[in-house]
């Protein structure tokens, strides 16, 4: 294998990349935009949910419940409480979507409370949005626990207490999403540089120009994948730094961590670029990479755990995660950006990515036809 010939192709691709600001911007802007929009959209806490409060008991105890709601409205602001006089009207507004939940304190609430006869509060909620309904329910359950707490704490506690230790500081969702966005930027470069440009060059006859020279199949494949890897590394590292600053990752400029990040990004870029070439090696129609872009993005990005934990996936989707290079990229990047694990937290992922690359490159070499 002649590295001079391989480098000639890499140099050519890099010149074209730097000469095309649109290509560079696309590979950065799409993942950055996704990081900012999704990071802030998904990361926020639920606030201002309209809750109807119907008190037909009008007692000191029901007033206590009302005050608890007022406390939440003033504190975490999960609810905005609206008083209703009629449970029928509250129910109607709940079904029409004007309020998200109804708290109903029945007429015999205080009476049962003093008689210790299972006092009840009715809680009706619109469960069409699972995210909001679970957040509201969690708050209401906390309130009920407080209502049930004994006035005087027993001197000898016999209840099991769980002491929770969180070993990392609170992680905003945007920080959680950063790893996925970096992986996405590498994928976009692979898709545009490795897929679309490769097929367009083939369609425009540029490859014919190279195939009449003494270049070997291995040199051609190595050149194309090498160029894509360098572009992926550059895009990935730029997004790591810019995205890290936007997300507020502490000590993002730490050179040791940047070095490990570069190792992961390089391994991911080789894996994604070789995966892309394997898909496109026999394709001639320029529409194919464009048409498959969205499909591949969905098929690789979402099952990787970039936006939602893999443990919540059904079994069939977990199988996609296992063969998806995104999964190992996201895992390793998250270990570095959120936990600062060092080499111990990434070497398995890097080895898997390199293993995937080896298989893909072998496939490319087997399928690549060196003919005019």
């Amino acid at each position: 294998m002649n590295f001079g010939r391989t480098w000639a192709l890499i140099e050519r691709d890099l010149r074209k990349f730097f000469r095309s600001p649109a290509l560079m911007m696309t590979s950065m802007i799409f993942p950055l935009m996704q990081l900012i929009v999704l990071g802030y959209a998904f990361g926020g806490k639920v606030t201002g949910v309209l809750v109807a409060f119907v008190d037909v008991d009008h007692s000191a105890e029901s007033q206590k419940v009302r005050e608890m709601f007022n406390g939440i409205a003033a504190g975490p602001r999960t609810f905005h409480v609206i008083d209703y006089n009629s449970v029928q009207k509250a129910d109607e507004d709940l079904r029409n979507g004007y309020v998200r939940a109804v708290i109903y304190v029945p007429q015999d609430f205080s009476q049962r409370f003093y008689h210790r006869d299972r006092p009840r509060i009715a809680f009706m909620q619109d469960n069409t949005d699972q995210f909001i309904s679970s957040a509201v329910l969690e708050r209401v359950q906390e309130m009920v626990e407080q209502l049930n707490a004994p006035d005087v704490t027993p001197r000898l506690a016999n209840q099991v207490q769980l002491n929770t230790v969180e070993i990392y500081p609170y992680i905003d969702y945007i920080k959680y999403l950063l790893a996925g966005s970096i992986a996405l930027s590498i994928f976009v470069v692979a898709m545009i540089g490795g897929g679309i440009t490769f097929i367009d060059d083939k369609a425009r006859g540029l490859h014919e120009g190279y195939l009449v020279t003494p270049i070997k199949k291995t040199e051609l494949v190595a050149g194309l994948i090498g160029a894509g890897t360098i572009k992926g590394l550059m895009a990935g590292m730029v997004l790591t730094v810019i995205g890290g600053m936007i997300a507020g990752i502490p000590r993002i400029w730490d050179p040791v961590r940047l070095f490990y990040l570069a190792i992961v990004v390089t391994a991911a870029a080789i894996a994604m670029m070789s995966f892309m070439f394997l898909l496109m090696v026999r394709v001639d129609d320029p529409l194919v990479p464009r048409a498959t872009f969205g499909v591949l993005n969905t098929l690789l990005f979402f099952p990787s755990g970039a936006v939602y934990p893999i443990q919540a996936f059904p079994r069939w989707l977990r199988w996609i995660s296992i063969i998806d290079p995104f999964t190992y990229t996201v895992h390793a990047l998250r270990n570095l950006t959120l936990k600062d694990t060092g080499i111990g937290g990434i070497y398995v992922d890097v080895l898997v990515l390199l293993g995937i690359s080896a298989v893909m490159i072998a496939g490319c070499l087997a399928l690549f036809k060196r003919q005019l």
Binding site: N2, G4, R5, W7, A8, L9, E11, R12, R15, K16, R19, S20, D200, D201, A203, R204, G205, L206, E208, G209, Y210, V212, T213, P214, I215, D284, D285, P286, L372
Partner: protein, 250 residues
Amino acid sequence: MGVIPQALTSDPELTAVENMEVHAKLYGVPRQKRGQIIHDLLSDVDLLKFKDALVRTFSGGMRRRLEIARGLIHSPKILFLDEPTTGLDPVSRTNVWQMIRALREKSELTILITTHYMDEADKLCDRIAIVDHGILAALDSPARLKDSIPGTDTVEAEFEKAPADWIAQLQTLAHVTSVTDRDGVVHIASNDGPAAIAALMDLTRSRGVVVRRVSVQSTTLDDVFVHYTGNDLRDAAKEGARYDVGHLYR
């Protein structure tokens, strides 16, 4: 061996020099010689002043000249040109022809051209092979190929005051093989056009016939090609037809 494919294969997003450099590296031209060779070749194809311009700004003729220069980057002994002027305008085509002639005169290079343009082959080639369906139908110099077919120069003429038996009289002339009248234009097939015209002029003077127009057309390589390959159309679906994505890069 240098090969210039039919399609324009120079990279539009690179400059002329960069295109040359990529190929120099692919052919393993030593670094020390690269700069001078590229300079000389670009000078030969008259593109030196455009050496740093992006190829996407070039006309079709300029790209073809660049590709010919690129094909010579490793000083080949044989240069294959696959339909070098297909799709070029007449000026660019003439330009490419001049360049190929200059190359032929300047170097010991053997140039092999495939073309569908018979006039191009006639102007550029010392020897021509006619290949039909993959079979060599004829191989010789242009002049000998023309002489090899039952030969017809065609004299076209229009006359005034011609007598009724004028066509019959023309058929008696020396070197004339057939005479046809098509809407007042007389076509005289001859195996020696100039001699037939001389005889025709003598005849018109002696018979008092006025010649309104006369022209002679020699045997062309088109005639030779048709003679050796027949008149059947050669329609065939081309495998691996190229997709046009040029609009995406404008």
